[in-house]
Amino acid sequence: MDIMDIRCLDEKTLSSYLDERLSEAERKKIELHIADCNACLDMLLVAYESRGRSKKCPAILKNRIKNRIGLKQAKNRPGSKWLIAALFFFALSFIVRHYFLQFLAISVVLGFKWVMEGEGAKRVIMIFRGIQEKEKKVERKSPPDVSNIAGGDRYGKPE
């Protein structure tokens, strides 16, 4: 297989042969090159063949690409199972009146779990953690400069 060299057509020109509606003159210009350049002809051939055989791709690769360019992954909602369970026990507490309080308690616990797993709750927790860390950093820093209050000069030394 030939290696592409500097005289080869650029990617846009080469792909325009398959991708775009070209005039007869433009097509002939490209054909003049690919008739003698096996590397470019083979590139076009793979591009032509790729349209029908492009379904298979490892799922892990798609996620890898999304992670790399910082896209959010499509998430299923694991939290919804807690909500369903909470509603189920809530309904059960009214059906089985004998254990009303027990079922209600379970439903409250599951409801709490659902709230804490929600996107909103996670964000609130992250904000609180951020504030806590900021406060800790401020505490670790040296005490604030009081030279101005004490009447010091701009180097902090008292006059």
């Binding site: 290696i3 846009k12 991708d19 054909e31 003049l32 051939l45 690409i65 360019i69 896209l71």
Partner: protein, 186 residues
Amino acid sequence: MFDDSHELIERCVKREEKAWAEFIRRFSGLVYYSARERLARNGFRFSGEDIQDIAQNVFVEMWEKSRLSEVRDRHKIKAWLSIVSQTRALNYMRKKKERLLAEDELFKVENVVSDNGEADRLELAEELETAIEPFEPREKIILKLNIIHGKTHKEISDFMNIPINTVSTIIARRKEFLRKALSNSK
């Protein structure tokens, strides 16, 4: 020839995340296939990890350098995307080879390039190149696609965007010419 992707590409150019997720879903297979096929056809020995790295690099380049905004005809980008993937695959293997040479691990370089058993095809290609030298460019392409790459008349007509009758006529006429030329030379 290729699917309509105009709206999707427009939205990707505006950097909409949902559009990008769809773009990756729709085209990662094409990028993966093109990179793998290019390396296989060029006789490189490669791993699945290499292809994944190449495919990832292609999408990262599209995203970071806003390459999609350069596409003129946004209805059809498959051929362009495939060719970009192929050239990136070749560049990746070239760099890998250079890196291995720099690390003085010559024995590993043998693993990068290998003969994938295409010697016969290359020999046939060389002979055909000489025989079809005086033909018109379009005729050369048609004969190469038919004889070396084994493409049908329909596929060639689709690939070159010319009527199938034209393809059939050229193949019949030029094969006859080659047959006569060969019998005269014997």
